[in-house]
């Protein structure tokens, strides 16, 4: 069975190679090759999953050693894959949701002439992400990590003829580089501390190292996670990444990329458990991001950017849970899986709406679409109910657990984090209701575009709606399926560990409070957007609204602090170089030049003056001789 693990990665990698090298003769069938190979990987995943289920709980870790990559004395890097409950969960999510998105893209990208290349990149994305979650050491994980960065760059900038897409891709890549630096520093620290970076030895000996070391490693890992998972302060790329085709957004937000950071933190749980300071920072980052993303999501009129804010916020929940330690690891991953379902469904729904509306993204120009797109409306609606945590749907179970876990951390921290999570739940309900009402309810608000074409909203073809239906089913039932009898908890517990913590308030109270928050959020949104007509042009709004429309000034902050700061730094360095370094060099040259110019004056060509110097020299010699003799 172990030998199947490499095939999980090999299938999409083969797809990427065939599609990118194959050339134009594959243009006609490229999309089906990509979808087929991605599905093949999913089938392998299911086979392995069934095999794991048939084993004892302690025997569920499969290791496949492929070959030794760097065989240097004292520095062993192997290409070894590890399939355990944690990576299995990710494999199923990545290949499952990924394959659905492939299928959807067949319809969505039907008229794009570079479609073959698109599917090649999608397969590359899957392969890189699978490598990331299957690697058995941090160095191999880093390869997948960088592969994900590369694939996201290629896909976000897929419509590279648009300058905004090219810029967004570059931005995503550069911001991710900052996080990647964190990961590479963490790996170096691990190597100096433990002498290896394989998961087994590092994680089982984590407690041997000093706490300061572990905190440093933890913080560097957190920096890496912030980059990939779009957490404050490295969150700015996520909104701009919406420039990519919508299936890419779905893939990035649900199955690949942003989940990598959460995976990294949960996988490195042993390190974080031994470094409480690093854990505290993780929870703070999670709490800040979940509010940050939610506030941004409230103000956006672009449907995809509103959903992007929502992703940021939901990943914030997961990071918060991951920072809580064993109380939260399982719930972080559970929310990650359920979020994978409903967020992919929401993005595919948004793509379907755009598909029917001539690629219009402004929700102020939608309205009343439920009559025109019933399937999209129902699937999107189920995803909506799931994300706000409507009782009985996926988000209800997973988010509620995270809020409970936040309170269970105990002490003042527990109260603060729990309150943040509750407030986040209310804001989530508000902005998602807003998206829902502005898109599918109310009067129709669309107008002819500048060429005079009026959009004719229509339902998308079956190839697009089937993935949406499957994802909607997942959004409805996954959470309940995982929670009943604590299935998911028992599945993951051997890897991540679990402790209940002692909550100051009972689970029932938390659930009740969450429900109250939900009702408040939905209610305010209904009063604002359901009862009143939505203006076609956004009102000026309060100071907070305007700031949120500008992504809470994240770009302005980056511009002022990093871009300006960098410019000032370079300018001062150039100044120092010009004045000090060049000054010393040029000054020496000029000094010698001037001195020789003066000396040259002595050679005036007059025999008399030469005679004077000879005479003076002779006199000096005589004087010196006399002096020596006198002494």
């Amino acid at each position: 069975m172990e030998n199947l693990i490499a095939l999980l990665i090999a299938a999409p990698l083969l797809g990427a190679a065939v599609l990118l090298v194959g050339g134009r003769r594959l243009d006609a069938v490229g999309q089906w090759i990509g979808t087929l190979l991605s599905t093949t990987s999913f089938v392998f995943g299911v086979i392995l999953f069934v095999d794991l289920l048939g084993r004892n709980t302690d025997d569920r870790t499969l290791i496949q050693h492929l070959y030794t990559w760097v065989p240097v004395a004292g520095f062993q890097a192997d290409v070894t894959f590890r399939l355990d409950q944690l990576s299995m969960t990710f494999v199923l999510l990545i290949t499952g949701v990924g394959s659905l998105i492939h299928l959807y893209s067949v319809g969505y990208m039907e008229h794009d002439e570079r479609r073959r290349r698109f599917f090649g990149y999608l397969n590359l994305f899957l392969a890189a992400m699978l490598l990331l979650v299957l690697a058995d050491n941090y160095l191999l994980l880093y390869v997948g990590w960088e592969g994900v960065g590369l694939a996201s760059y290629l896909l976000i900038g897929f419509w590279q003829h648009k300058p905004s897409a090219a810029t967004a891709a570059k931005k995503a890549f550069l911001v991710n580089r900052v996080g990647d630096m964190g990961l590479s520093i963490a790996i170096m620290l691990m190597f100096t501390t433990f002498g290896t970076f394989a998961f087994g030895p590092v994680l089982s000996h984590a407690t041997d190292a000093s706490e300061g070391r572990l905190t440093a490693i933890g913080l560097m890992l957190l920096l890496a996670a912030c980059g990939k998972s779009a957490q404050v302060p490295l969150q700015s790329w996520l909104g701009d990444a919406m420039e990519g085709p919508t299936p890419v957004s779905a893939l990035i937000h649900a199955a690949t990329m942003v989940t990598a950071g959460v995976y990294l933190i949960v996988r490195s749980g042993a390190i974080f458990n031994a470094a409480p300071d690093a854990q505290l920072v993780v929870t703070v980052v999670g709490a800040v991001t979940l509010l940050f993303g939610a506030i941004v999501g409230c103000a956006k009129d672009d449907i995809k950017k509103a959903l992007a804010g929502s992703t940021m916020s939901q990943i914030g929940y997961m990071v918060l849970a991951a920072g809580l330690g064993p109380i939260g690891y399982v719930f972080a991953i559970m929310h990650l899986v359920t979020h994978g379902f409903f967020k992919a469904g929401l993005f595919l729904g948004a793509g379907s709406v755009m598909h029917g509306m001539n690629d219009e993204v402004d929700m102020r120009r939608y309205g009343g679409l439920r009559k025109y797109m019933p399937v999209t409306f129902i699937t999107f609606g189920l995803g909506y109910l799931a994300i706000i945590g409507f009782p009985g749907l996926s988000g209800f179970f997973s988010k509620d657990k995270i809020i409970e876990a936040a309170f269970a951390k105990g002490g003042t921290e527990g109260w603060i984090l729990g309150t943040c999570a509750l407030v986040g739940a209310a804001i989530t309900a508000f902005y998602m209701t807003r998206v829902m009402l502005m898109t599918f309810f109310g009067e129709k608000r669309w107008q002819p575009d500048e060429h005079g074409h009026e959009p004719h909203p229509h339902e998308s073809p079956k190839v697009m709606t089937i993935p949406m239906i499957v994802l909607a089913v997942g959004s409805v039932f996954a959470g309940g399926f995982f929670s009943i009898g604590d299935r998911f908890l028992h599945w993951l517990e051997p890897i991540t560990g679990h402790s209940e913590g002692d909550s100051p308030i009972s689970a029932g109270v938390v659930t009740g409070a969450t429900m109250v928050c939900l009702i408040i959020g939905v209610g305010i949104a209904y009063l604002q957007y359901g009862r009143r007509p939505v203006p076609a042009v956004a009102p000026r709004g309060s100071l907070l609204t305007r700031a949120a429309r500008r992504d809470l000034l994240q770009d302005d902050f980056n511009h002022v602090v990093l871009v300006r700061g960098g410019e000032h730094l370079t300018r001062s360095l150039v100044y120092v170089d010009h004045t000090l370094v060049d000054g010393v060099v040029n000054g020496t040259a000029a000094g010698f030049g001037g001195l020789s110019g003066r000396l040259r004056k002595l050679q005036n060509g007059y025999a008399r003056s030469y005679a004077v110097s000879m005479f003076g020299g002779a006199a000096l010699l005589v004087a010196a001789t006399l002096l020596m003799r006198a002494v």
Partner: protein
């Protein structure tokens, strides 16, 4: 008579010669001043010879005269050819090496 007076005379002559070399521009005069310096030296040599009671100084004086004679030949030849090319006997005019 005290031989030191001859030394004073030699020093005086040498100074006159050196001053002439440094401040006069006429090549002939400069040349004559060089001769004057040489002869001042000769005088000093002879005096020292007398004072110390050996002949070394006298012999050196003869050498000096020979060198001076040779120098006169070369020097006058240079001055004559200089005068021919530049129509001047001023040492300042012979400044071709100056920038």
């Amino acid at each position: 008579m005290n031989p030191v007076y001859y030394l004073y005379l030699a020093a005086l002559l040498f100074t006159i010669g050196a001053t002439g070399v440094l401040i006069r521009r006429n090549a002939i005069v400069v040349f004559m001043c060089i001769e004057l310096m040489l002869n001042a030296c000769n005088l000093a040599f002879v005096v020292f010879s007398r004072m110390h009671g050996n002949l070394d100084g006298q012999i050196i004086a003869f050498f000096t005269m020979v060198v001076a004679a040779a120098e006169v030949v070369v020097g006058l030849a240079i001055i004559v050819s200089l005068f021919r090319t530049r129509h001047s006997a001023s040492v300042d005019d012979a400044s071709l090496m100056k920038l």
